[in-house]
Amino acid sequence: MIALRSAQAIAADFPILHKPTSRGKRLVYLDSAATSQKPQAVIDTLVAYYSEYNANIHRGVYEIAERATAAFEEARAKVARFINADSREVIWTRNATEAINLIGYSWGLQNIKPGDAILTTQLEHHSNLVPWQLLAEKTGATLRFIPADDRGVLQLDNLDALLRGAKLLAFTHVSNTLGTINPLERMVAAARAAGATVLIDGAQGVPHLPVDVKALDVDFYAFSGHKMLGPTGIGVLYGKRALLEAMPPFLAGGDMIRKVEYERTTFNELPWKFEAGTSNVADAIALGTAVDYLSELGMDWVRAHERELLGYALERLAPLEARGLALYGPRDPAICSGVLSFNFADVHAHDLASILDTEGICIRAGHHCTMPLMEKMGWPATARASFYVYNSKADIDALAEGIEKAAHVFKV
């Protein structure tokens, strides 16, 4: 059973992790919150599609077209099972960003009226903030923010008051910058009581936590394939069927239609109503393989593994605090995903990342597409290490040693 395999055995499935860097170092990949690495099975799925049954879907009557269509729809069914949704409620998009924009343009323009409020949080990635700024501008709605404290934990004392007059509550499942896992159950319950529709940015949720959209009772949930071992260019919008049925199409064209006349069109049923044009067939099928891989590991195991790694990282890096290491975020593995943001003495995050790079260690440096949060916290930039299924304690040891090296180079 894979769940009992060591992180090292899992890492063996990821070919990139076994290619030394140009300096001959072992690749220590600690940027999975930006994008995850891909197991051989996902790469093989892409190769098999293009080399064995590449054909357009939902059209051809020949064998390979039927095979492509079946694989494409089977991948959708896999994703649906993975998050406990119905297949008709799983819409393929390019990524979480496109899924959120789809809601903004389709559901948002139909439902948000002048004077309505859109409630989000101070933790959001630009992808779950800028679309709401645009929607508010177009509709005359106002934007409100649930505040976060210094550790990046949402302050929910005034949630009910903030929800008054709010048509939409849109927030991230897990903060990409600080790893905070937001209390979905409590927030969704409050939104239900206030009659607000709920959209979750799950780009950092589904890859790292068990997610059951029915149990969570969310209206919309968006995520990206490339952060969960799948390829780039494929993402998912989950939506409750009744809401999706009532929404107008977002993009128009082929595949999303039932009947077209010169003057008018009847649209296809769900989920294809929202999938205009030839879909990203190969990447959707390969995302199905990624979901198989994660399912075999078990999402409870994935969560427990990351929790253990974060706990180890906090412990391993603690001695460096005396030398100027500042660790941000909740610093509590019970409410934090495998993400750790930090700064070291007066070494700028970009310089730190460059020095770590010479040791083969990949971390992210900058504002992590959360500029308002960085501004609020007073951080011009942070370094961020993020963990996934293939990471081990040895990777965290490498990170700690890399920071020691930066201390030496910068004479801290």
């Binding site: 700028h348 970009h350 310089d351 460059s354 020095i355 930039a381 180079v409 910068f410």
Partner: protein, 130 residues
């Protein structure tokens, strides 16, 4: 890349030259690198002959952007605006020496871009793309 962070770079990073503001600058510009958020502002006192008599820079960012900007202020003091407008990225590379990686080149050239913008009175292109 670790060869890059030599003593004189760290010195310019931690003790930037000509850092701050002029009371009534004749020319100024500021910009940021949207990729990483590094910010630089440059202010010039220019005499009747178009010669930069005094320079100040301000901003925040990584050692590369701040040290490059600091060194650049020493280079351009006493130059004519037309000369500054014509400077290429080589002036920055000569200042900072070897070891800059392609992805960090924009950090190094941000100060130059801002100085050139101040010299010509409009936003200049990225020196590394010219």
């Amino acid at each position: 890349m670790d060869d890059f962070y030599r003593d004189f770079i760290l010195d310019h990073y931690r003790n930037p030259r000509n850092f701050g503001h002029l009371t009534d600058p004749d020319a100024s510009a500021e910009d940021l690198n949207p990729l990483c958020g590094d910010q630089i502002r440059m202010e010039f006192d220019v005499d009747a002959g178009g010669v930069v008599r005094d320079v100040r820079f301000s901003g925040k960012g990584c050692a590369i952007s701040q040290a490059s900007a600091s060194m650049l202020t020493e280079t351009i003091k006493g130059m004519r605006l037309e000369e500054i407008a014509k400077l290429s990225k080589d002036v920055v590379l000569e200042n900072v020496g070897i070891g800059i990686s392609p992805t960090r080149l924009k950090c190094a050239t941000l100060g130059l871009r801002v100085a050139k913008s101040a010299a010509i009175g409009e936003i200049a292109g990225w020196p590394d793309e010219e």
